[in-house]
Symmetry: C2
Subunit: 195 residues, 2 copies
DNA sequence: GTTAGCATGTAAGGAGTTACATGATTTT
DNA sequence: AAAATCATGTAACTCCTTACATGCTAAC
């Protein structure tokens, strides 16, 4: 009942507050720096989200001493509660479309530091196959197209394909790095090969 | 009153129907091929949009002969009306944020063939400065950041910056090409320099 | 003869923005 | 003392998705 889903923003807020307590205004700046190239949030979505998280008991107001409260309304610094940390872990463990779609992938990636190696890998692979699906469907649709396209449409297609292909290559490198790291690193006892 | 704005979808539909009459189902496939790398529309938004455009008199049902209508409901092929063509021209002439923001730039670009050279140039430049703004604000925000970021956050930033920088370079090339074309091509009498 | 794809549509709702409203604090 | 920016919040609205409902037609 209390508060909608807002999955992406919720994760972004909980993840940021896990690093350090913050008040709304600064939180927004952080998020828009962190995700600036991918998306931006406005106060109109952030403050309602904070209220909802507060009602759910996932975050709490922090009273530093009693210094900050001077006038009627001062900064409201939020920190993560124990339930909030649990919820964050839960969100970070989900390796599904909600983690690798366009709107959410960046946010999930930004908090990979707190994500298990296995989950990281599944998210990276999920995103990669999502993009490859997209490449396939557009490429076959283009192949079926009888009429030749004008130069602007072609240029748009070319640029779009190239961008997605680039992201796939980037993901390939990340996946390879993850695999290499989990081979020698603190993996889940994968019958460590000699080395 | 009748029908909301849906600017992007409206333009996409009018633009597509300008090339050739189509029915809803095929229209959606076309759009999702044309814009596949950037965005996708569902029937839940397309059909209401078609109804709204019909009510506004911007599109009309086409009766080919009387072949197609067999059962109660068959394909409904829509074509652009005269008012629709006017509206399309109006939309294609607008060189403002509504043309160069993320959600809309692709659609506007896709129909550049029907857009005046001057407007094309202003949209390309508008998009470029929009992206440069974003680069600046993220870069200066990063420079101000005291704490060093973890490797995933850094990698995300790096990739984001690189992608946007690539798009800026792409736009630079397009702008240069447009300028070259308008110098010798059918430009607006810009006191043609020797050459 | 049944699955897959073609074809059209609606109702409910999710996720966010814009514009507004308000006031404190810092800078110029 | 004016302007900018910090800071919090709400109401209305936009745009789109999901899930559902319906039926036809082609392929296997």
């Amino acid at each position: 009942m209390a508060g909608g889903q807002r999955r992406v923003l919720e994760l972004a807020v909980l993840g940021s507050l896990h690093e350090t307590p913050l008040h709304g205004y600064e939180l927004r700046k952080r998020l828009n720096t962190l995700l600036g190239m991918f998306r931006a949030f406005s106060y109109g979505s952030l403050y309602p989200c904070l209220r909802s998280l507060l009602e759910q008991g996932l975050i709490a107001e922090e009273q530093p001493a009693q210094a900050t409260i001077v006038g009627g309304r001062s900064k409201i610094v939020y920190k993560l509660t124990a339930e909030g940390k649990e919820r964050l872990q839960e969100l970070l463990t989900q390796a599904g479309p909600s983690a690798w779609e366009d709107e959410s992938f960046g946010v999930h990636f930004a908090f990979f530091r707190h994500t298990e190696a296995e989950v990281r890998l599944r998210i990276l692979e999920g995103r990669r196959s999502r993009l490859e699906e997209r490449l396939d469907s557009v490429r076959t649709a283009l192949a079926r197209t009888r009429e030749r396209l004008d130069s602007y449409t072609l240029e748009l297609q070319r640029h779009g394909l190239e961008s997605v292909e680039r992201e796939v290559r980037w993901l390939n490198e990340l996946i390879a790095t993850e695999r290499r790291a989990s081979e020698r690193g603190p993996a889940t006892d994968t019958t460590s090969s000699d080395e």
